[in-house]
Symmetry: D3
Subunit: 336 residues, 6 copies
């Protein structure tokens, strides 16, 4: 159960306290908020740790009970937090979540301005130390949106990883509430040359890079053509309703198209579904008979994500055995 590989996946980004309205209430009517923790790159590290890999999360937190809640959750998932830096006075990033029901979509209110992470100091992180023993590095398009220093840190991290021969995974994760499409493109286009695996959606690709295509595969091919990624993988969520979704993903690598079955999901909480896919994809990609098994990555990513969306919270309380049971055709009957 504790057979973590020795090599470590390193992720970099902010995690926040998540304050969610319970019991299908709207935020405005709630008298209590459920408190959990989330943030794209912590979600990915936590997911990889669940699947059995060694992980390290690079971030910055306030030295307060709220910062400690976030640190504690990372530790609870077995993520190495020894590279966290602590801010004595800044605030904790927060986000408020209001789960929806058709026809009302779920909604997020970010309250992360002025957070400890956003106050990252240039050159604060020694990337060579942070990437020691790394088997992969992962970050997302949220991180460079948070501050200039964060964008610079992402640039430096990618360069350091490339220099060290460490594969880089990047989830495009466009967040309109954080920056404009224009600025998002200007900052991220230069970063892409050091990215090996791009995880994205058709919509984010269009908004950030202005790339559209005749179908998903075409979009993936155009991304590879423009940026030279080793792998592009595109997640596909079908919104049957707010509480019923379909989920699958495709990938394109080395001129080959990959796809997988679609999952019907009774959505308990869709937040973190993309991050769970990233976790599962990286797990599958890293742990096949040879590193770089894209088909395995897509299958593990989809199963892990589908399971993660059936539980509350950003984080994936799922086991490798459960993922593999899905891949072997687990049914819907109660086991007893």
């Amino acid at each position: 159960m504790e057979s973590h590989s020795t090599a470590t996946v390193v992720t970099f980004g902010e995690a926040m306290l998540r304050l969610a309205a319970p019991d299908h209430q709207r935020l405005e009517q709630a008298v209590s908020f459920d408190v959990t923790v989330g943030g794209a790159e912590l979600n990915v590290a936590a997911g990889l740790s669940r699947l059995g890999l060694s992980t390290r999360w690079i971030s910055r937190l306030p030295d307060s009970p709220l910062g400690r809640i976030i640190r504690n959750r990372a530790r609870e998932f077995g993520v190495d937090v020894s590279f966290l830096s602590w801010d004595p006075s800044a605030r904790a990033g927060l986000y408020f979540l209001e789960p929806g029901a058709s026809p009302r979509a779920s909604a997020v209110i970010y309250d992360r301005a002025g957070s400890a992470f956003s106050k990252l100091v240039p050159d604060e992180i020694d990337w060579n130390a942070a990437l020691v023993d790394a088997s992969a590095f992962h970050t997302s398009g949220i991180t460079p949106a948070l501050s200039d220093a964060a964008a610079t840190a992402v640039r430096d991290a990618l360069a350091a990883a490339r220099a060290a021969g460490i594969p880089v995974s990047y989830d495009l994760n466009y967040r309109a509430k954080l920056w404009s499409e224009e600025r998002s493109r200007a900052v991220q286009e230069p970063l892409m040359r050091n990215v090996d695996i791009l995880i994205t959606t058709e919509e984010d690709t269009r908004r950030v890079f202005g790339i559209t295509g005749s179908d998903y595969r075409d979009v993936a091919r155009k991304l590879v053509d423009r940026f030279g990624f080793k792998v592009v993988t595109i997640t596909l969520r079908g919104d049957t309703s707010v509480l019923r979704n379909t989920w699958t993903a495709i990938a394109y690598a080395d001129g080959i198209d990959y796809d997988d079955r679609s999952y019907d999901i009774e959505v308990v909480d869709r937040v973190g579904g993309g991050d769970a896919y990233a976790s599962g994809f990286l797990y599958g990609w890293l742990t096949g008979e040879t590193t770089g098994d894209v088909a395995r990555g897509v299958r593990y990513g989809n199963a892990f994500s589908a399971l993660q969306q059936t539980l509350p919270g950003d984080l994936a309380w799922v086991t490798l055995a459960e993922v593999e049971a899905q891949l072997s055709g687990a049914g819907l009957r109660i086991a007893r």
Copy 2:
């Protein structure tokens, strides 16, 4: 955000404490009840206040913590409560709600006999004062069912409104647990001559007035023919299951039929859906380029109602901006 119009929609009726079994439990197995507030005419006033209109609610409450809970909730929604009258000794009306799941329908137990409202004293309300500055008056078929004095008060209110040239809206709202079809008809038929806008369902129309038709439009036309309403609007709920409904409404006015798209609803709480429709309809009808925009009324009514049914409680924690986003084709994706 606080651009309430100066004219005021006045509503009249009882509101109750609502005690609901939580977490899909049955009433009989619950060890706590969720406490909210509801009542058709308060629901309509609160809904109109959410949409930005000035509102006033005429009612009668016990001078007790329970009565104050009801008053507080009205105030929280911005409804003018200065015309409430307070009973020093009567009880608060209650209703117990048990949400269902197919094939078990939701159920309501009324416990409102002897309530402060039911003890309304004849001529207690000075309708000329209560209707000052009114842009419309709204009540429903529940109010005259509660006591003879309440029925008389409805009669007087309608007459006063008609005399003052204030448009009257009336939701037929037949409640079999309060009175028989026969008595309901005997009391309400005379009231109809002072009603401008009738809001009803096909079933209530049949039970109260014995009117049936080849289709919804035909029912609406017959109602106009018999009573001379300016507008008849009929709501149409499709019970795909207890927790999945479709919702739309049609209207008929000045010889013209109006209809609208149907909403697929993942029902969190269907109680108050009709009242939310009434709120939205009145809002649309009152605030178009010219007063009396029936098409706008139907569209705002449907969107407001569909959104209201996705949250717990009778009251519509929805904003005008959200309604208008629905009318502009808002999707089901999370916004972030």
Copy 3:
């Protein structure tokens, strides 16, 4: 409301504390567990009591607050607990429940080893006394799986019932977490000769007796042919998804096939659905114009089970009036 028949249905088996993760959480992430009580044969006794029959539950509990919780729940349902025996030191059986959502199935963790029931002492129960005034005896395939003494007690109970001319109902209820198919068959085959009514599923029949057939009816016929049951009834759950199921049952008796409508269920909690069917079947079978009305049994069983699955917990907080309303075509609309 309290018109219990004088004859008593006696059931025999273990009941446990059930500890369930709330609010769609996984067990691993929960910080509180909902505490209820369940166990196949108590569930059946409680269901029969709800429907108006006199019931008695034979079991064994620890003399501790946890044992008393279980006893209290049985009493709350009106089940006679005067034949319980109390163990001064053994533990209470527990089971942990994790409700699922597609594609993640619900899961049960049994923690019942060493329970007071499993420490049943041979000959502890005086079956002639326990079966006094019995109109039927019911147990299930869970009971003999719990210990050798329990298996012996089942054997003795069935023999005593047969000797006294009391009809015996047996729910096959195969639990892979308790014993192997092989052992299950070896222990239970000899018991079957004293069983009158077998309640089972197609899957359990295959796993325990190795019997398969061209369809459900064929399986039922083969069971009757092999064991000489008076009635075989097979429940049929359709897993549209984890939270949407269809439910029906068929029966075969005296060469006649019986079937019934299918229910669409919005599943709040599927645990206990089979036991509710057993309760409803026995109620219908015992209370027709003449005892032994199989068609009535199937219809009451299906309606009772469909309603029970819409509420949390193993136990059926349902009334006879509600069952009969379903049989008369109750709709999905809220009653008020």
Copy 4:
């Protein structure tokens, strides 16, 4: 554990749903109410059942989920409910509880007018049947306050008990919210001639009978002198603060004074403390070496009451073993 004596203590009175504000909130600010069950005479029956006696509760309930909640709780405590009568249409009595903290006293709002119990029909209860096998009969001054028919039923019950030689216990329980001191006296004075054991407080004695004295003992003596009771027992609560009380009781019988140690109580919920005393007193009085052991009654009453006040709810989730441990000098240390 189930060694109930064969003789049965019969009690008569109303029980209500109790709706309490949780977490030290005031009623007006609560958004949920904790739902339990309480009523003086049910509380006494439940307490006696906990202590091991056979009990029967005579009352009247609505045939509704709310009425069934009350019935279920009585059954859960092992109280015989076969003499309940069911009203098809009346409401359930309710009471709202707001726990206090110094200097704010706890408060109760009764909402019991029109309850099923208050609609008791004269001669509805066959007292000879209801008192079969009774070892004692208990009611309180709340019951005759509820309606004329209830007062008549108390009169008839006391006469029937006296005629049958069954000891009658009566808790004076004056409730100013139900009737005036004058009316309370007029109704109850004639009842007292058939009462054997009077349970009261100094304050209630003064308010109902106008009796005061130089000290508690003097009051008790005057009561015996005026009414000829066999036993008078007076409970003494010291309000150190709302959440810290002292508790003891004295008694006077056959010319002898009885007293007991005082208990320091960290009050979790004081409601039902007097009823718990009555239960414990009757238990001790009935189960000594000879019936009528007043000293034993006082000691069991005080210990049972002190323990009951440390848990939420009217009902006494306490065991005989725990009472006897208190009597043997149990300490405050955790047992493990």
Copy 5:
């Protein structure tokens, strides 16, 4: 019950969402936060509204669900919110509360930097309009600590009130987490010349103005001597323990010393106790036979505060009748 005076008490300051750890948990271990609303000047307005005065609260909120929660709560208490201004993009001020138990003191984490209030624009508020019909103006030392514009607004408000002859009440409320003692003094000393009533503690007086004295009265006299206040009132909390406090206050006006009884409080939530005192003091001071009854102010202030500290939340869910019952010697016994 709704006999608000026509003159209006106007208050000015920020209110925040308050997120508190429930059930005596520490913030770091909580998985949900209780959501209420608080802020010194809203607390005072809400308190005065509870006591029957007309109130208006001047503030600035984000146009978001979180801002609306704060607005809603003010409205629920009957406070006029028509002078609120709305910020389309700023955040809501938050504060996190961790209730303590001896020897661990309660703790507050402010998270209000960047709030809508702190972004107040100079001259945004038309004080002549805001003070129309004002019978008094109240603010506290928290407001000028929030931003330069806020300090300027306080200065302008005090000048406008003085010019209009409106009495000004000022609670010194020193918050070390917001500013230094030095800066607090520099900003506030000039404000004091327009203050009529100063509400403070001995400690705040020392920290802000460097004034100490031989006893409380001496401190009050020195304040009057230095600043020329009409009234100085000093609250005195005795920390017997974290959960048991004593509370009283003294005042000095026109050369006369005032004091009052001390209250023993079982503290449910001490936050807002000082604001409740301010509300009660102003109520008493404004509503005596002649305005300016200091003795009445102190007595109403103490009773209102003592009651407010027995309930959760900053806001005073207390009625005038309850305050007056305390003043008449209400006991600790449950009323029923």
Copy 6:
């Protein structure tokens, strides 16, 4: 904040799921249980980790969601779990907690028979590996009570630690529900020769070793005399009531007596108070200017324990800064 020393304190023992009745309910009346984690030696490791030391916990858990909950909590506190061993089939140890209120003491029900820990296999743990880099080793008298293999493992661990020159701390922790005084003495006396620091109470010393004395100091001296401990420290809890305790400790080492101030505690949860003392003592003892500062150990132990008892759960959500603030005389006032 993350300045853990490089040397590691190693602890050995079982941790359980703790299921506690919420809201002052008794176990028998609860419908949910609060789920946390506790066990003496995990509690000590977690406490030391909070204070900034590196820690490792040696234990054995079931490979199930319940086992993972325990592992997760250890990780959350930063405890190294790499030496846990996992049992594929055994159960998780549980304990049920019922918090008391005077005069009802709190109560614990152990349900740990058959747990994964109790099934420890002889020689399963490689103590030389487990103790690498250890600065101290800690276990308690609970561990050898759990099984013969556990007792053997304790013996081997102590011998290995002594051989490696690692200081050994041992908390006597007598649990009458686990073993008799006689067996406890027989097993533990031989262990004591390898113990350096004995943590105990006067009562446990008497029950296990039969040692009594004229006062606490005398008991401590006799323990040193008999067993040759370097340090004996005795904790002293004063049960003013169940919810108000005093707490202090004394120590004796090298012929010197040590004592400390007494803390008045408003007890939120007393479970784990002794373990918190052990954590604080070891922290103080290990981190003084020279290792072995007994006075510092006692002071840190008392302050840490006093704070831990003010929060729910076995584990000490307390920071070093808070402990040191207590040692510097922190008051009871809210900080803001």
